[in-house]
Assembly symmetry: C2
Homo-oligomer: 419 residues x 2
């Protein structure tokens, strides 16, 4: 480990443990070189990192002091009053810290930041041209989605893209979602004046995530996909295929995309890399129909690009160098192994449980006799409660964010909550 | 300069000059260590950077080859057919490459990327809490905008934020803009069903950029600001104060913000750092009224955060460490000097021209006899043409993106186009 990182870590621990307190003076840079027997540059680097991470502040002509600032920890979440008590998140599909090689991503960001000329101007409204080219190639190879880069629009997350899509559609008629769970998508359509339906095949716009049909991880079978595509052609409706979870990547023989099955012009394909990379990298994309792409082009000045230009540049090279593929294989192995481990552990520890692995291999679905579900939160577990009746309770466990070494303990807490 | 960068530059030039062509084989890593008398790590670093920037590709078990990919240069722009011919952009207010210390920003991004735990989860929908805290402190000190971090919403650009604002307002009545130039803002309100007016003081929402009234760089005077605030209180209308250009930072005695003048609850304050940092960093923020902030909080699950989490973390520390202030002073000196230089050069070279520096010190406004404005494009100049009549032509020159050494030549081209 580099020397300046050792010194950084030394002080970081003293500060977070409370052994050094707000206002305590740090050794001067000169003293520290003597204390640690290192060069001035090494100390300056360590102090810079401590300052940049908010642990110390610099008082001009006076020195460095421990700051009052408590760095945000990852355990905080969005205004959720129960957040303090949740130790194990089996619900939101966050990333496993072992899953992503962040130092590799750092190198690509660093390279992107060196392209100073590019960063001096705003991003192309549609998204960086080289990224759209790399995306077009990627989805053609991986998903049989064939479209020129001109039809691809990059955005900062799916909500951003749905806003653009809504604004391209003049006739604000009906849109159908499979259920009410996709709050952030439904609200965009509502805001734009669409009438939102649930599972209405006669709606003018049908939103589906065929590779991730429900939180159960069911996959829409080919027969059903063909029916959907055919019906939308007859009905002149638009299908939005949201492949956000890239679940197709986890299956050896993935079901064909609706886009590929349709052949024609009425499927908008949406994708992102949030679950292959990390949620902190917020870039998504959509492939417009030829008609909508022409309309977008005519109105392109109206649409500001929201995705970070630096991250777009880095992502483009990351894809070109094949790391999405490598990363995907790694995630697939990691997550399906954890799912299997959960499944085995549940069968080992719990009785009276009907337990099944989802179609996409990423969730464990369990059915148990009814119980007081608040005991889950009491025991520090967040899990999807799909249905509770007089006769049974159905839960869905998403193990992606969990450390596999915690699985036996988590299952014992589940058992404690349920039995 | 670091050794691996020298080697990177060496090959980059050979490739961009065409001396090495697509398909040419690079020296093996082992050979290169001998050729350059450096370590294997140094060559590997140089080759990695060449690969990450798209100049070479790696063929497994075979070696490295010059790629077919031409890195995008900064001169390309959004589907503008005239873009090829524009040498000097006096129009769009891009950044001067001398204005921003990108290596400093790189260090903050690098620090942010080291906070792996934070990056494993999605950003807080409202924007990172520590950033909102730093923003609250900054705008209180700089602009007398006093509001708790709870009222601040972070977004990826002003269009993103206006979308959130529109969705919080149930009564989609009238909104008034000062003119039709802010296409990206007007289109959001239209999409949300508002009726868009121009300079209508009786609209229910009034959008203004008081520190940047027109492309002329006029500043709204205090008297007028007070009238606007008073009228909106009587009318129960909402004022959106877009301080995007931070022009107040360039004046020694800035005119008070509408937010501060209003004291009460009907001004939404919007800001960004695109002109203090670089356009490639797309983070903006808005301060909601107490009422709108409460509504936002109730509906927070509907709003995905679009700004890059990494950049938010970096920006927070960058602000805390005082670099916005340092950067602002630097930009102010640089841009006002260039504006003055333009002004002097125009007066020196051109006759029959009425020339004036704008209120905010950042633009040069010129009035000349009418002329064929297409000659400007022919001579490679993009400039704002404000008005052309039988008697005069009014132009506005924004020198921010220009290199000061080019100013005499640019003015000679202006003279050539006009006289």
């Amino acid at each position: 480990m580099k020397k300046y990182i050792e010194i950084y870590e030394y002080y970081r621990r003293l500060i977070t443990n409370g052994q050094m307190k707000y206002g305590d003076k740090m050794p001067s840079i000169r003293s520290a070189t003597t204390i640690f027997s290192v060069s001035k540059t090494t100390i300056e680097n360590a102090y810079f990192e401590l300052q940049a991470d908010g642990y110390i502040i610099s008082s001009p002509k006076s020195g460095y002091y421990v700051s009052n600032y408590t760095p945000i920890e990852a355990t905080q979440s969005n205004a959720d009053p129960d957040a303090q008590h949740i130790l194990y998140d089996l619900k939101s599909g966050g990333a496993d810290k072992n899953s992503f090689d962040i130092s590799l991503w750092q190198r690509y960001i660093k390279s992107a930041l060196r392209q100073q000329d590019r960063l001096l101007s705003y991003s192309d409204n549609q998204g960086e041209a080289d990224l759209r080219e790399a995306l077009a190639k990627y989805i053609r190879e991986k998903r049989n989605v064939t479209a020129s880069p001109d039809r691809i629009v990059v955005g900062a997350g799916v909500q951003n893209l749905l806003g653009i899509l809504c604004s391209l559609i003049d006739d604000r008629d009906t849109v159908s979602f499979p259920d009410k769970s996709f709050v952030q998508g439904i609200s965009v359509f509502k805001d734009y004046g669409f009438t939102v339906k649930t599972r209405d095949k006669n709606a003018k716009i049908i939103y589906v995530s065929p590779s991730h049909m429900t939180s159960y991880g069911d996959v829409m079978k080919t027969k059903r996909r063909l029916e959907l595509v055919k019906h939308s052609e007859i009905n002149h409706s638009l299908v939005i295929e949201d492949d956000y979870d890239n679940d197709f990547l986890y299956q050896s023989k993935p079901t064909p995309s609706l886009f590929a099955l349709s052949g024609g012009g009425n499927v908008v394909y949406m994708g992102s890399f949030s679950n292959v990379l990390i949620p902190g990298i917020r870039i998504s994309f959509m492939v417009l129909t030829k008609e909508l792409a022409e309309k977008y082009k005519k109105n392109i000045d109206k649409y500001a690009q929201a995705a970070s230009k630096t991250e777009q540049i880095a992502l483009c090279q990351y894809i070109r160098d094949g790391h999405i593929n490598t990363q995907t294989r790694k995630i697939r192995r990691l997550y399906t192994a954890k799912t299997k481990q959960f499944y085995d552990e549940i069968n080992r520890q719990m009785k009276n449980v009907n337990c099944k692995i989802s179609d996409n291999g990423l969730q464990v679905k369990i059915e148990v006799p009814p119980f007081d579900t608040t005991r889950l939160t009491d025991n520090g577990i967040a899990v999807n409660i799909k249905e509770v009746t007089q006769d049974y309770a159905k839960l869905v466990i998403v193990p992606s964010a969990i450390d596999s070494s915690d699985i036996p303990h988590i299952v014992s807490l589940l058992k404690k909550s349920i039995e």
